[in-house]
Symmetry: C2
Subunit: 429 residues, 2 copies
């Protein structure tokens, strides 16, 4: 019997050590000059449930942000998109329990007024406050929780890990766990290129793109690296492109997706721009941090029992690779097969073949859980017992080589379980 080797490839590194960074304590507060709080302001009925998160810099600092491309975008997205474009911010305020989406002029007024209340408490211009919301769509947001809530949130600010953790919890909706990251490393930005210790921290929320009555992916990432607004923007865009934008739980893009970066510069040293030698290391560390958060979203997808990583190799173009990877990751039949511990490569092949990308089926190889299942378009013998054992782990890698070129893409998703249907279908019955 012919034996087959797994497809050989070098996946994109998510190891921060590549860039001289390592995990550290602190979450979103790992960066010097950042404090955070998570409080109960009253968006949710349960007084024990945190529903307002604030991440604040000690003073106005560099910011960058990316937002949902959904044509139905929420009021806070409209406000923050405009303000983040200035490249300067003092704080990000995020609430859970109400998305302030499809709320028209009234919703915009509430978003601005809530920012005003936080700005007053912080003593900064309104325009330096960015806002984000997640929760029910199409219900007007009440300003009342912000009236006492904004100043209470500012009073509660602290710069340690416990405060970072509270902020990460306050934005949770159907998330089952808070999702945080923090990295420490050095960049050669001191005098004569001496190393300066810097940090990247952050949290994210997101489980379905839209949850029982609509939710979202929200993330705040911070750093104490001194960096220009343009470089921060470039690094954030690149990081988001290969992390949050490569996650799909259910192919449904939210109305409220927002990712913010605050860069305080508090680590000291020479300010980085896109041409600086230190830029690539910072951008790499930022990407690793975002990928860590992105994987946590997929692993905590609504009803998920497995994190699924889809690698597509040998595509003619990056766009082809992304299209095929997404087609596989969004296939309900692939996702239910993973839920059923079924290495159903036929569904993977069909999902690859349906998406309009040109290839010859007899050029295609597929590995499932590291085991060769298809070579040159034909099935190969599989040790089913070994395959079932591999399904016991928390991750399911699927690798598809198209044999057309050298472009590749990686997308994360999760399986499709009964619990997903329950979460999203049963809550009113």
């Amino acid at each position: 019997m012919t034996s087959y080797e797994p497809i050989s490839f070098t996946p994109p590194t998510a190891d921060p050590a590549t860039y001289g960074f390592a995990p550290c304590e602190g979450g979103v507060c790992a960066a010097q000059g950042i404090s955070a709080s998570g409080t109960h302001a009253g968006f949710r009925a349960d007084p024990n449930r945190l529903d307002l998160a604030v991440v604040a810099a000690d003073e106005a600092c560099v910011c960058a942000a990316t937002f949902t491309q959904n044509r139905f975008c929420a009021a806070p997205v409209q406000v923050s998109r405009q303000r983040a474009a200035t490249g300067v911010a003092r704080a990000v305020m995020l609430n859970s329990g109400n998305a302030n989406a499809s709320t028209g002029e009234q919703g915009l007024a509430v978003a601005k007024e809530s920012a005003h209340l936080l700005a007053q408490a912080l003593g900064c211009p309104d325009e330096q406050v960015l806002v984000a919301s997640t929760g029910v769509i199409g219900q007007q947001q009440d300003i009342a929780p912000y009236v006492g809530g904004a100043s209470a949130a500012v009073a509660a600010l602290g710069a340690d890990e416990a405060h970072a953790h509270a902020a990460a919890r306050a934005v949770m909706t159907t998330d089952t766990v808070p999702k945080e990251v923090s990295l420490e490393g050095t960049l050669p930005i001191g005098p004569d290129g001496a190393p300066v210790t810097v940090h990247v921290g952050g949290f994210v929320k997101g489980a379905g793109m839209i949850q029982p009555n609509m939710a979202t992916m929200l993330s705040v990432v911070t750093t104490d690296v001194p960096i220009t607004a343009a470089a921060a923007h470039a690094a954030l865009l690149a990081a988001v492109r290969s992390s949050f934008n490569k996650v799909t739980v259910d192919s449904d893009t939210s109305t409220n997706d927002s990712c913010f970066l605050l860069a305080t510069g508090a680590a000291g040293g020479t300010t980085i721009d896109e041409g600086s030698p230190a830029f690539d290391a910072f951008a790499g560390a930022l990407r690793c941090a975002c990928e860590t958060l992105a994987r946590k979203i997929a692993a905590d997808g609504e009803g998920a029992t497995k994190l699924v990583t889809v690698d597509v190799l040998g595509a003619a173009t990056d766009a082809d690779a992304d299209t095929v990877a997404r087609s596989i990751a969004n296939s309900p039949l692939v996702k239910t097969a993973v839920f059923g511990h079924d290495a159903n490569w036929g569904r993977v092949a069909a999902a690859a073949g349906k998406c309009g990308v040109a290839f010859d089926q007899y050029d295609v190889d597929i590995d499932f859980l590291g085991m060769p299942v298809l070579r040159a378009g034909m099935p190969v013998p599989v040790d089913e017992d070994d395959m079932l054992r591999r399904f016991e782990g928390p991750e399911v890698p699927i690798v598809v080589s198209l044999g057309q070129g050298s472009a590749a893409a990686r997308v994360w998703t999760c399986d499709l379980s009964h619990e997903y249907v329950t979460i999203n279908g049963d809550y009113r019955t």
Copy 2:
């Protein structure tokens, strides 16, 4: 309180009366000159389960066909695509239980040999036999069932409704019901334009695009209208475009999708071409027949409890309308909401907004089950009790008006239930 009227629009007619046709008996055998059989050849273990369908014309006749666009296409698709291009066929043979997909040269040989066996039994050239398969992918198909099975299927041919019904049953996989249609009407193709009675009949199988271990949509449609091969091809393409191509159960396109048209001309009269006055009526009736079958696929989708019809109006282009309609119809969150009897228009709005089609959210109106839920991008009051009552029916219409232009599209789907996950995820555990 402002009251809102449902969105006013004229959906594309699926009423054959528009074209002078009405439902009749006979299924695929309604057309004169067509006989059919459904037999057990041995692709399935259960001897009581039909697994081989043959639809044969009394003599070689005009044919047209369309096939899956999936890059992984099955052996019978490769054989039939080439043969159907000649515009002449005698019969279509379809088996269930094995898809003969990802089977390479050996699979091609089996597909050709099976056609040869049927051709021998019918006494026609091999090239006049079209073949189609549905079932497990990646397993070599055994020629043995065809050896006695092909001649037995020919011996079993009959031209009545019972035989049509047996053929429709023989191609079922996860389908819970056979899906058939037959229409009778007149066309002005007799001497001096006198009316000639003609028929369109057919069946389809399909429940998931891919079922437990991979299935398919297969359809055979017949008519006794005298028509050129070019006109038959044009009419079939147009009919499939607005019927089968507008159905999505799970966004997963099969490797084996095939739709065949046999046109015997047995009704007599002048042969129709694309310029004939009777062409539009025939093409309209054919479209109505295909739409009837397409709706039956969606209603019988794996695990479906509801047929969902998504109409998108006011799009700038047909392509925009189709993209938005498909985005809504394929949204797991919309589909689980329907399963949960939740008129969750927020998910419909988010699905419309995510797909890259340009519109202003404040131009958008949405109706759910005939009730206005969104006007100019803002929610309107909904009588929830009335809405829940409307969910009791078998169909859920969703209408979205984008306010950008006058293009429209209609797509059919079904809800996403626990049963779908069970069918596709649980069969190996």
